[in-house]
Amino acid sequence: MSVTAKEATRDAYGRALARLGGVEPRIVVLDADLFRSTRTSLFAERFPDRFFEMGIAEQDMVSTAAGLAMAGKIAFANSFAVFITGRAFDQVRQQVALPALNVRLCGSSAGLTLGADGATHQSVVDVALMRSLPNMTVIVPCDGSETERVVEASLKHQGPIYLRLSRYETPAWTSGIRDFAIGKAICLREGRDITIAACGVIMGEALAAADLLAEKGISAEVLDVHTIKPLDTDTILASAAKTGRVLTIEEHSIIGGLGSAVCEAIAERADRHVPVRRLGIRDTFGESGTADELLEVHGLTAPHIAREAESLLRAGSVPDA
């Protein structure tokens, strides 16, 4: 796939699942009356015996997936991100995270980029909920190429994973990246003056912001932090040590997501003062609108990101240790 062709991570996910179903017989897939939207329909057509339609019953779906995983299956449970993390939180807590089972909770149509359906359907705290659970790995891929690698890597991973997926179409920013590993951040662009740590399908805005900054002579490093937990603290700290400041970008509440995770890591482990700014959803719910309109309203487009980066750079020289 070329970098310019656009694809949603949910499409890449559905394709990968249907492909890997042929090589990994332990894969089972559950859905809660959204299989056309979550793209598990591709798997269902090829492997009907291993696909379970659970009806509009996310709690039942998650617990059933846990039972299948207990019996040795790799269970992919699917719904919209807002339902699988919120509606079924207690089932995830008790029956997936506590026993550390091989359930993959796949939250589709995540974030503001869900668009017109509005606040009830826009998951803006799903990463925070899942990140708070012991044993849970949290992954937010930024494009189709990365999503395929996550699904592949998930088959060898022990323990539960929350995989955040989107319907927002993006170019394949990571198609040229050779190595992918869960928990290892990817440097998409090297820079000296500021670190932009981003995740998910708004990666394009972070990269475009780096272009805007370059026009002003500012060299921004862009990290693709696809795994929010466990966080690749080493890569983030090394980049922060080089640039001296970090800006985080996420299509999620600034409370509990990537921005929080980066702040926690830097506060505890950086050996000098590193200013951090978080761009995301500022403790509010979403609303109806197109994906691009909502990103604009919440300050998550390239010009906003570039302005925030400049502001952080202007905020004064970093006091050195």
Partner: protein, 281 residues
């Protein structure tokens, strides 16, 4: 059919489980006495009559699986597992203490012989469905048993799961409802009316059986009948008495989760010992 000799052995086993339970829970600490005592015969009939379960081999693939959706009754399961040699008799008194394998509610990563993480109510039947679907996919012959509390049927997820079992025609699964009529704060019918409980399960597509949940002969016969039914799941409504076997605990919701004094434990053990004597006479 259960023979008269088997029945005598099972009855003694049930008494032993009750005595182990009382010694395990002891005095001075709050425990789920009521709901643990009400399901003693049910678990005895399952572990020592109905289920294919090799003593001392809790990880064997062919074993039948028992899930306690009413996870607060796990002391009864511990007592059975101790009798089977899966747990050590000497660790039984460590129930709910720091570092013990015997956690307050089932923790599958800590305790051998447990099949499902439960405690937060309403989730066990869904989990059991997952095990039953996996067994079918694998062509495995083992069966899945799941014990639900009657108060637990307030949880909506139970009915989501009941639809799933029926939709997928899970005839390798048997549910048992410990119908003791009491939940934490009062009678099930006063808290939120549950009856007609039989009609509810039947309407959800289940084969419904009923029996006296303390009559081992009736329990074994009903479990045999349930497992003979093909094409749909079976549920056994086992009518029980909360706190069964100890006169001052019977039928009292106040002992759902409460502490006994040393004197009360001694009286309870005395009553159970007396019952053992009567039975062997």
């Amino acid at each position: 059919m259960i023979s008269q000799d088997q029945l005598v052995v099972l009855s003694l086993r049930a008494r032993e489980i009750r005595l182990t339970l009382l010694r395990m829970m002891g005095a001075g600490k709050a425990h789920h006495f009521g709901g643990s005592l009400s399901c003693v015969e049910i678990l005895t009939a399952l572990y020592f009559y109905k289920m294919h379960y090799e003593a001392g081999e809790p990880g064997h693939d062919d074993r039948d699986r028992l899930i306690l959706s009413k996870g607060h009754a796990v002391p009864t399961q511990y007592a059975c597992l101790a009798a089977l040699g899966v747990l050590k008799p000497e660790e039984v008194p460590s129930l709910k203490t720091l570092g013990s394998r015997l956690q307050g509610h089932p923790d599958v990563r800590k305790t051998p012989g447990l099949e499902a993480p439960t405690g937060s109510l309403g989730q066990g039947l869904s989990f059991a469905n997952g095990l039953a679907l996996a067994a079918r996919l694998d062509g495995a012959a083992h069966r899945i048993y799941v014990l639900l509390g009657d108060g637990e049927l307030d949880e909506g997820q139970v009915w989501e799961a009941a639809m799933t079992s029926a939709h997928y025609r899970l005839d390798n699964l048997t549910a048992i409802v410990d119908r003791n009529g009491l939940q934490a704060q009062g009678a099930t019918e006063a808290m939120k009316r549950l009856d007609p409980i039989v009609g509810k399960w039947a309407a959800f597509g289940w084969n419904v059986l009923q029996c006296n949940g303390h009559d081992l002969s009736a329990l074994c016969a009903a479990l045999d009948e349930a497992t003979a039914v093909r094409g749909r799941p079976s549920v056994l409504i086992a009518r029980t008495v909360k706190g069964k076997g100890v006169s001052f605990l019977e039928g009292r919701y106040q002992y759902h989760n409460a502490a006994l004094s040393a004197d009360e434990v001694a009286r309870a053990l005395g009553e159970l010992g007396q019952q053992s004597m009567e039975h062997t006479d």
